[in-house]
């Protein structure tokens, strides 16, 4: 087979975006996976929104630049400042809910605070046992917090043994909502406001008690960017003073008294009153699963490819093994029986692992690409199962059939090929179809050898779209169904054409 051809085909399936960079950009480092209301998407294919997005746009305008978010892993954002500003991941500032930290302040310059946050306690609305921070300890509530966050430190010190750390804000809120592994969660207040207002959680949560442990979100930048620093400081102060930031924060429901004190501290005065009604925003119902579907479809393509490439091999090998087991001499029967028992008796997962990771160490010549190992491994595994199906089929054919063929002078091989196997195939269409359909789902085991197919993609998307998990699950299930249903239809047609319905039509 032409390996190159295959690779080209798959490269086309996956594609690769190209990058470009503008000179007059305010490049701000951010990690959108952190989620709302900082930076997120209402429409997965649309632009980012969030209060930090609008704040960055405001800053860029003040600076006479355009706003350009640069995405990176949250914990690595400050280190991007150590790298030159040019280049794909080059940034001017770090702007993503970073609090004042001594270690960072030593290495980087930082602006005045642009937001004053507090740790907020959130509980289920119907949970009457939690009415304040004071209830957490005596009730031994399980407290969901972000790993390595200020909230983690705070709660771990105060409520040792009660902290349930997690990597993901959405998961924590889900856990509280579903009463699974946390009773309450403690988060920075903007996140709390955002999730509590989410229509998905309508009437699910309540904000409990006052916020604790006030802290400031700052912008970090290079120590030698003195000019930029003072421009940013000025912009923040002006924005607070003239109500621009108030409008932005109000839009996301996070303006509060802390911000007024922040303004007073920075500018010597409280901001002017503003009674204008501001349209609040949230993630709303616009967040939808549809835009994720192309990714699922691409992954489904790999699933189909793996199944379609491997199952015919398995069927072929299965027929050969089955006839060998039924008609062969002992020295053929025994190894084939061992093959079938060992292969169907051990997990596909370990077989693939063996073929991909272990075997090539001994025999480097067997170090094929994952896709070939995947097809081969699936084919070998299913061959053992198909062999048993065909054996059942062969043994259901009355003895007289083979006798008649032999009596006509056919060689045993010809007799089996022309008389027995065609009848056996007819009988075993349903179990073979079963296995073909099961194979579509078993291709997911190939993720252990680095192949991304539908189930792995689902898991990936599920991780980043926890609130869409039901939709994702149904769509994924639907895609599998779409793959297998045509098989069922073809199988029924074959069955009917081959007249297998010996039992049909009685009354």
């Amino acid at each position: 087979m032409n390996q190159r051809w295959l690779l080209v085909a798959f490269a086309l399936l996956i594609g690769a975006p190209a990058f470009a960079q503008d000179k007059k950009e305010l490049r701000w480092g951010t990690d959108p996976t952190g989620g709302g209301p900082y930076i997120y998407k209402d429409d997965p294919n649309g632009p980012y929104v969030g209060f930090e997005v609008e704040f960055a746009e405001y800053l860029a305008k003040k600076l006479g630049r355009t706003s350009k978010p640069v995405e990176a892993e949250w914990s690595t954002l400050p280190e991007l400042l150590d790298k030159p500003r040019t280049g794909e991941k080059g940034i001017d500032i770090v702007l993503n809910g970073y609090e004042a930290r001594d270690d960072l302040k030593q290495k980087y310059a930082s602006t005045v605070p642009y937001y004053q946050y507090r740790l907020q306690l959130v509980a289920r609305k119907d949970d009457d046992s939690i009415t304040g921070w004071a209830d957490l300890g005596p009730k031994k509530s399980r407290i969901g917090v972000l790993e390595a966050s200020v909230a983690f430190d705070y709660c771990n010190k105060r409520y040792p043994g009660q902290v349930v750390p997690n990597k993901d804000v959405a998961t924590m809120f889900n856990a509280v909502a579903d009463k699974t592994h946390a009773d309450v969660t403690v988060q920075d207040n903007p996140a709390c406001v955002f999730y509590v207002a989410d229509p998905k959680y309508k009437d699910k949560f309540k904000l409990v008690d006052d916020g604790r442990q006030p802290g400031a979100y700052l912008i970090y930048l290079r120590k030698d960017d003195k000019e930029l620093l003072s421009a940013l400081d000025t912009a923040i102060k002006e924005g607070l003073k003239d109500g621009t930031l108030r409008k932005i924060y109000q839009k996301y429901g996070i303006w509060n008294a802390d911000q007024e004190w922040l303004c007073k501290e920075l500018t010597g005065d409280f901001p002017p009153d503003d009674d204008a009604q501001v349209e609040r925003t949230g993630r709303g119902g616009a967040r939808s699963v549809w835009p994720l579907i192309p990714q699922l479809l691409r992954a489904a393509g790999m699933t189909i490819f793996l199944a379609i490439a491997s199952f015919p091999l398995a069927m072929l090998a299965g027929v050969v093994i089955a006839t060998g087991r039924v008609y062969g001499p002992v020295w053929v029967k025994i190894p084939l029986a061992v093959f079938v028992e060992v292969i169907r008796g051990t997990p596909l997962l370990l077989q693939l692992y063996f073929l991909f990771f272990i075997l090539p160490k001994q025999f480097p010549v067997l170090a094929f690409d994952p896709i070939y190992i995947g097809i081969l491994g699936l084919a070998i595994n299913y061959a053992a199962y198909e062999a048993e199906n065909y054996r059942a089929g062969i043994q259901s054919i009355p003895r007289g059939q083979l006798e008649a063929a032999l009596a006509l002078g056919m060689s045993p091989f010809t007799a089996i090929r022309t008389v027995i196997v065609p009848q056996a195939v007819r009988v075993v269409i349903p179990p073979v179809t079963n296995d073909f359909i099961a194979l579509f789902k078993d291709t997911s085991v190939c993720s252990v050898i680095l192949i991304t197919e539908l189930t792995r993609k689902y898991n990936e998307l599920y991780n980043f779209n926890r609130d869409l998990v039901v939709e994702l699950a149904f769509i994924t299930a639907g895609l599998y169904l779409l793959m297998s249903y045509p098989l069922s239809v073809v199988a029924r047609v074959l069955e009917r054409r081959m007249g297998a319905s010996a039992a049909g039509g009685h009354r």
């Binding site: 009355p398 007289g400 059939q401 006798e403 008649a404 063929a405 032999l406 009596a407 006509l408 002078g409 056919m410 060689s411 045993p412 010809t414 007799a415 022309t418 008389v419 065609p422 009848q423 007819r426 081959m498 007249g499």
Partner: protein, 241 residues
């Protein structure tokens, strides 16, 4: 042509064949008669190697099967090229049409081309009166029609000897007589001189075409001799009539 000598066969404890012997020469028609369960079918199956036997010997031309010996694949193949068989239960191939059933021998056993085989098959189907059923599947035929297909299938490979196991049981007397005539013609044909063994309960037909009659009871040949003598009033097989 065919000689089975002192065949002994057990099924479990039962001695199903108890030293049965039978002989047929080229162009000869031997009839095997006897009560139900006497071992007639079993003996036929032993002769063409479908069934192992414990003692005795089967000789077909120069080919030999010996009791309790596993014959070579080659011997069996040769044997079956020489000896055709029509089964009591027909054993038609249900996944093939009538025509394909009859063609299967010529094509898969003799290696004939499809065209040749089709010509042969059509000839024999015509002779058993099934010209218009070529494309039916066996499941769509009446009992007698199936039986005739089985006969045509056996004849289509031109064997030098044929074993018929009740070939006319499902046929009305007229059709049975016609089929018997076809069989008789094959034996009498100067060129072919086919040797035949026919198991049948149709005493009239047996009388008409058999050169020699074997009476098989409880696995033993209790009489063998000319048909006229066997069925003569008071003769050994007269009780069957």
């Amino acid at each position: 042509m065919i000689r089975a000598t002192n065949i002994v066969k057990y099924r479990g404890e039962a001695r199903v064949l108890d030293g049965a012997s039978i002989e047929v020469r080229k162009g000869q028609v031997a009839a095997m008669v006897g009560p139900s369960g006497g071992g007639k079918s079993t003996l036929l199956r032993c002769i063409n190697g479908l069934e192992e036997f414990h003692e005795g010997e089967v000789a077909v031309g120069t080919l030999k099967l010996k009791g309790s010996e596993i014959p070579s694949r080659h011997t069996l193949l040769q044997l079956r090229h020489t000896v055709g068989m029509v089964f009591q239960q027909f054993n038609l191939f249900p996944h093939m049409t009538v025509l394909k059933n009859v063609m299967s021998g010529p094509v898969y056993a003799l290696g004939k081309t499809t065209d040749e085989a089709e010509t042969t098959a059509k000839k024999w189907l015509g002779r058993v009166g099934l010209a218009e059923k070529h494309d039916a599947k066996p499941g769509q035929l009446s009992g007698g029609q199936q039986q005739r297909v089985a006969i045509a299938r056996a004849l289509a490979v031109n064997p030098a000897a044929i074993l018929f196991d009740e070939p006319t049981s499902a046929l009305d007397p007229k059709m049975a007589a016609e089929v018997m005539r076809v069989i008789d013609d094959l034996a009498d044909d100067e060129q072919l001189q086919v040797a035949m063994v026919i198991v049948s309960h149709d005493i009239a037909a047996v009388k008409r075409i058999a050169d020699v009659v074997y009476l098989l009871e409880k696995g033993k040949v209790v009489y063998s001799g000319p048909a006229a003598e066997a069925f003569a009033p008071g003769g050994p097989a007269s009780a069957l009539e």
